[in-house]
Amino acid sequence: MTSPRLTSLKHRFSDWGQAQDYYLESKLTDGLPIVPPSEDRVRAMLEFAGLEPDQVIGVETIRNKHITAEKVAVNSVMAGCRPEYFPVVVSAVAACCDRSFNLHASSTSTNGVTVLVLVSGGYARQIGMNSSTGVMGPSNQANATIGRAVNLVKTNFYGSVPQDMDNSTFGHPGKYSFCFAENLDASNWPSLATDKGFDGESSTVTVVAAYSPLQVSVFGGKDPTSFLTSVAHAMIGLGPSISEVLVVLSPEVMQYVNEAGWSRQQVQEFLWGKAQLPARDWIAWRRVEHPETFTDKDQLVGCVADPSRITVLSAGGAAGVYIDIIGSWGNSRTVTRKIEIRS
């Protein structure tokens, strides 16, 4: 059996250092060194996932970009991924191409948002992802390189290069990498994958056009109505024009929720109900782009449009009574895709 032909342009270098210089000087990295994408390494990715090089993973319709498996694999190798991480990257890229995610606008806007890659289900554990202590920080290879691979696809293939097509004012540290896994041990709830409608055996990836995370210290004991009030107050700080909110409960907070017997839906509805202000208050705080659209200034306006736009899950280390909230940009919707794993 012959290996499928790879069609990407081949570069020849005398040594590793020359290769690094080329990719850095050609703005094909995030400023950090890359793993040179050799044909063998790219093939290993494709073979693990059972994908042909020319298979289209997703089409971004605004720029008419047909993202092929080969190019996703090249960028995944560059990011430092192992082949077993590749199915996660593939599903994340496919999710980014869903029209409702609005990849083009979210990756070019002056607003500094990045693609958060959130993994749910048993595959995260299988490939050694971190869902516990320091979950959003460095040191875990899978978390670091899966998030980096998605960002490299976005810059190298899609063209959203900082200071060029990516015009974000401040940028975002997560434009290097922002990827973590749900902590399934901490929660009594079904996994996020199951909650999104996938069967119990499935693992999923959810992409979020994510602003920077805001960690909230919560006080007032173990009553959910108490500590979730702190969270709702912080959510109001995100303003009334965000699309969705990701609420990450530390395992200790999750334990309080478990003990109180609250469902995910109860948490969503409580937060949505609390994170509302009359239109006149949002207008007074200059948080509304078009105040003239509110005819009734006493109308309650939520941080997000409805409870379903609040995604709640647990992640992080055992110690610490914290909740992390991450707003999503403009009208971008979070998108969830099943991770296709070849048996």
């Binding site: 990407s8 081949k10 270098f13 005398s14 050799s38 970009k65 190019k71 560059m78």
Partner: protein, 99 residues
């Protein structure tokens, strides 16, 4: 092993497919007597900016009239049907953004 065989070969991560060059719309020989379209992206002040530009153009050319269309959001492309209708009503158009 030859020097060529010892070289490190690595692949290019960019989109190499060729969708053809982006082309500018055909320019009319003159703006005199033309209908000017003003396409707003709904950013605050974008309509004011477009009106200012239309005013300057009116001073320099004999613009027949102007038509306006607000595409409703800077975050999405204009609705294709509405854009076609807008295009059918004007000879030239200006799209602008502002804050």
């Amino acid at each position: 092993m030859t020097n060529l065989e010892k070289m490190l070969v690595a692949l290019d991560p960019r989109d190499e497919s060729d969708h053809g060059p982006a082309l500018l719309a055909t320019r009319p020989p003159t703006l005199n007597g033309k209908t000017l379209g003003l396409l707003s992206n709904n950013k605050p002040h974008s309509e004011e900016l477009l009106q200012m530009i239309a005013g300057i153009m009116n001073e320099s050319y004999n613009i027949k009239n102007t038509v306006e269309y607000n595409k409703g959001s800077h975050q999405w492309p204009a609705n294709s049907e509405a854009l076609k209708e807008f295009a059918s009503k004007c000879d030239v158009a200006i799209h602008a953004t502002a804050e």
